[in-house]
Amino acid sequence: MYRFLRLSVLLVGLIAAVGSVAVHAAQPLTTADDLGPVVDQPIEFPHDRHAGDAAKGGMQINCMYCHTYARRSNVAGIPPLQKCIGCHRSIESVRETPRIKKLFEYWEAKKPVPWKKVHDLPDFVRFNHERHIQRFVFAQEKPVQEACGYCHGDVKTMTVARRQKPLSMGWCVSCHQKDHPVSATSTKTTHGPNDCWQCHK
């Protein structure tokens, strides 16, 4: 009786595991599979205009030009207002558009823009941007937009960012279980850490 039970539990587990791998393996990395809520931002920031392809009118700015802390810190960070102004001060063509006017209003009042958080994790999870960027962008030499896109989706096609991935533990683990090369030139492979304390400190 017990043996039968144990067997069935094993089988169910196996099917579930295979199923989940199959589902995740079939997913392209940069498309939406779990859309978050639409978030109203104080300024409708056009990611597509800044980071999008030149063919579609984008500037092809590197993600890390603005989110400069991603490679150095836990958080990618919202750029300081001075960074926006640094460029827009000398871009006369859009200076009088409503969004840029609003931007300069914040700047002149020396008030930060009250952005809303789009990607959030529970307080008991510690996600580290630096580790991921160092691994994928610098060690494996993956394109920046692809590396960021694993979790953030294809931001260069959006205006205001919207959550694209579930950012749940199962979803994180599904990626951490996959083998990937250690660096761009190495044939050695490894996978992401699966220790509890890596994220739950």
Partner: protein
């Protein structure tokens, strides 16, 4: 003890519901706030500021007067944790628990947030403009000689501004009061060595004999002495230093000593002179005049008077003779008597006879800017103020950093006395006992929001000037720094001189840059110099030091015989200065309440410490509530039985029993300051803290003492580790 109607059963109920709520909220992932939380970026920022990574800024600890350099870890504009500044010679990168609790002084929920003006029993919030206007009017209408300042220890540029303000209004009345300070030892040192506090070189001594100086816990500059103590323990040429502590109640220093000698209270001087005599007999060269003065202090007599055995005196003599240089220190336990000056002088004499002056007792560096040098306080100063108030000599009283209503002995009756002052202004962090009586309360910035300079009372090496800089923006817009307030008051009086400074920061920067030559920046650009000063946090000054007087003399030494027993009040009360609480000014920082006292491990309450023999005689056990009564009042507390105390003595820690101040201190424990007998040191007039006679009577109830050690308590020294009381022996009816 905490008298609280919130019982154990209610506590468990709340815990249960709380747990259920947490469990429910966990289901819906409600801690994820997609699109609801704000994520605020900087408007402008420096390159080295990276979100989620801490940046360290140097400043100075304001928790006591030692002046340790600190580094505050600042993240996203908030100060999170303090570390020691490695460049500060005082603490060399180390810190104590009291210093760590500094962040709780800053984030404390009971801080005063706006100026309050008395309206009957209530404080009414007013604006700073109105408050300063009111101060100006009151000062203008009073006779200049009747305006007085009462402060704690003060130094640096705030002291300069304070002096200038008093000059501007034509008053010279600045009273400095510290409840717990080595005032008598300072006076005795001045006589013996020519300086108030010589530089003590524990690191060079081979033997240290401390007469009740708790230099590892609470005395003068504990973190600095702890660093020196570590070197002393490693020893010169591998010869490990030996520490002997002589005191009636064990301190944390006594607990670290190789030999702890429980001495009959008040006989420290007799032991010191007995040692001089014994050393002379053992062949040490002693001036004839001194030898003649101490010849009556024979081994037997000294042993009989002090209660220290002949054998131990002999060993101590041999130790001091064989190992030189040594160092003898007089601390709180030696000075706290009517003949405290004599005790301290006898200890200084022992140092001189041993030839330690110039070797382990060095001349301290002198401060090249005397106007910024710290003023130390004492009780005589408060007495002078009190006498003047009694004669209606004070019309406006400013109070800053002193809490006399809490800490002055009951005999001074400060509460009633202060009622006679028509206008009292309190600069306050909390609504403490003294601020509650004020007519106008002016809320101050925390030390982590304020600019300033601090000159430590005790220089570790050369003279130094510590920088205090804000570690974060002000938490409450309604507070101001002491320097800013003084500057605003000075602008009313001397606009031509001070209107050029927008705020205290501008004044401070200007004043520092003006003396940059003396601060080692003569060739630097003003801004470069200022930036480097801020980044270092400590400015080392070139200073000279005066030679010490080293001639030993026993002239004027007059030690009384041990005090006779008092029939009605048979025990002596030692008000203990503990490393957490000190004089009670930080009692509202919960970390200090909840971190166990190092010797008894008791938390969140005061206690009555007594020897097992004394407890047996009184018929009490640990946890019995007893009444400790002196001629001047009575307090209640839980008994703690401990072998590290003389059987003639009981001890109650200071710093507890606040009647105001805040949610973490009000009503916790009992205030031992209030029952001290008004006995004073005959030479300096300081309160003799250890002279109070008490009787102890059982008050009925028994409680479980909340402490960190196992129920076996003091038995741990017998290596019966963590004994548990059998559940059958616990009387649940007695639980509170």
């Amino acid at each position: 003890m905490i008298e609280n109607s919130f019982n154990r059963r209610d506590f468990l109920k709340v815990l249960g519901w709380g747990g259920a709520t947490v469990a429910l909220s966990g289901c819906g992932n409600t801690s994820v706030e997609d699109g609801r939380e704000y994520v605020t970026s900087y408007v402008e920022t420096a390159d080295y500021i990276i979100p989620s990574i801490g940046t360290y800024f140097n400043s100075t600890c304001a928790q006591c007067d030692a002046g340790c350099g600190i580094m505050g870890r600042v993240r996203e504009g908030r100060v999170l944790k303090l570390e020691g500044n490695p460049d500060s010679p005082i603490n060399s990168g180390k810190m104590c628990g009291l210093g760590q609790a500094g962040v709780q002084a800053h984030y404390n929920p009971d801080r005063v947030r706006e100026p309050l003006l008395r309206n009957g029993d209530k404080g009414e919030a007013i604006t700073w403009e109105k408050a300063l206007q009111l101060v100006s009017e009151k000062v203008a209408s009073a006779n200049p000689g009747s305006v007085a300042f009462l402060t704690g220890g003060v130094s640096g540029h705030v002291k300069v501004l304070l002096k200038n303000y008093l000059d501007a209004i034509g008053s010279d009345r600045h009273y400095v009061y510290e409840a717990v300070a080595p005032s008598v030892v300072r006076a005795a040192n001045k006589k013996a060595y020519g300086v108030e506090m010589p530089r003590l070189r524990l690191d060079r001594a081979k033997v240290v004999v401390s007469f009740g100086a708790d230099f590892l816990g609470t005395w003068v500059s504990p973190v600095h002495f702890s660093r020196q103590y570590a070197k002393f323990r490693k020893g010169v040429n591998g010869e490990r230093g030996v520490l002997v502590q002589v005191e009636s109640k064990m301190t944390i220093t006594g607990a670290n000593a190789d030999r702890w000698l429980a001495i009959r209270p008040g006989t420290e001087g007799i032991l010191a002179l007995g040692l001089v005599n014994a050393l002379s007999a053992a062949g040490l060269t002693v001036p004839a005049e001194v030898a003649a003065a101490v010849k009556d202090y024979t081994l037997d007599r000294v042993s009989n008077d002090t209660g220290v055995s002949v054998e131990h005196i002999g060993k101590l003599t041999a130790l001091l003779k064989d190992r030189s240089p040594s160092l003898v220190i007089a601390g709180g336990a030696a000075e706290g008597y009517a003949h405290g000056s004599q005790n301290a002088a006898a200890v200084a004499l022992l140092n001189q006879v041993l030839g330690n002056v110039g070797k382990t007792v060095e001349a301290p560096a002198s401060m090249p800017f005397p106007q910024m040098a710290p003023i130390t306080g004492n009780r005589s100063s408060l007495q002078a103020l009190n006498d003047s108030i009694a004669q209606d000599g004070v019309k406006v009283l400013f109070n800053c950093g002193a809490n006399p209503i809490y800490s002055a002995p009951a005999s001074m009756n400060m509460k009633e006395s202060l009622k006679k002052v028509p206008f009292k202004v309190a600069f306050a962090h909390y609504m403490d006992e003294t601020a509650m009586e004020a007519d106008l309360v002016l809320p101050l910035n925390s030390s982590m929001e304020d600019w300033g300079t601090v000159v430590p009372e005790y220089f570790a090496e050369g003279a130094q000037l510590n920088i205090q800089q804000p570690l974060m923006e002000k938490l409450h817009p309604g507070t101001l720094g002491m320097g800013d307030v003084l500057l605003a008051l000075l602008k009313q009086r001397r606009p031509a001189e001070y209107n050029g400074y927008e705020d205290y920061y501008a004044y401070l920067k200007n004043a520092m840059v003006a003396i940059k030559g003396a601060l080692g920046g003569e060739n630097e650009d003003d801004d470069v110099f200022w930036d480097s000063v801020l980044s270092q946090g400590v400015v080392k000054l070139t200073s000279s030091s005066n030679a010490l007087v080293s001639s030993a003399s026993a002239a004027g030494l007059q030690l009384p015989p041990p005090a006779a027993e008092d029939g009605t009040y048979p025990l002596r009360l030692i008000p203990a200065v503990t490393p957490n609480m000190r004089d009670g000014r930080h009692a509202n920082e919960p970390w200090l309440q909840e971190s166990p006292d190092p010797l008894t491990t008791i938390v969140w309450d005061s206690w009555v410490e007594m020897h097992p023999k004394t407890a047996a005689k009184l018929g009490v056990v640990e946890g019995d509530i007893v009444e400790v009564a002196s001629k001047n009042g009575a307090i209640k507390g839980q008994v703690y039985v401990y072998s590290g105390i003389h059987p003639d003595v009981i001890s109650v820690p200071l710093g507890y029993g606040h009647e105001a101040m805040g949610r973490y201190s009000k009503g916790v424990g009992a205030n031992a300051f209030k029952i001290l007998d008004p006995v004073f040191d005959q030479q300096t007039g300081e309160l003799a803290m250890y002279e109070t006679r008490v009787k102890v009577t059982k008050a009925g109830k028994r409680v479980i003492v909340v402490k960190d050690e196992g129920p076996a308590g003091g038995n741990q020294s017998g290596r019966r580790i963590a004994l548990r009381m059998a559940s059958g022996k616990v009387n649940l009816a007695e639980e509170v």
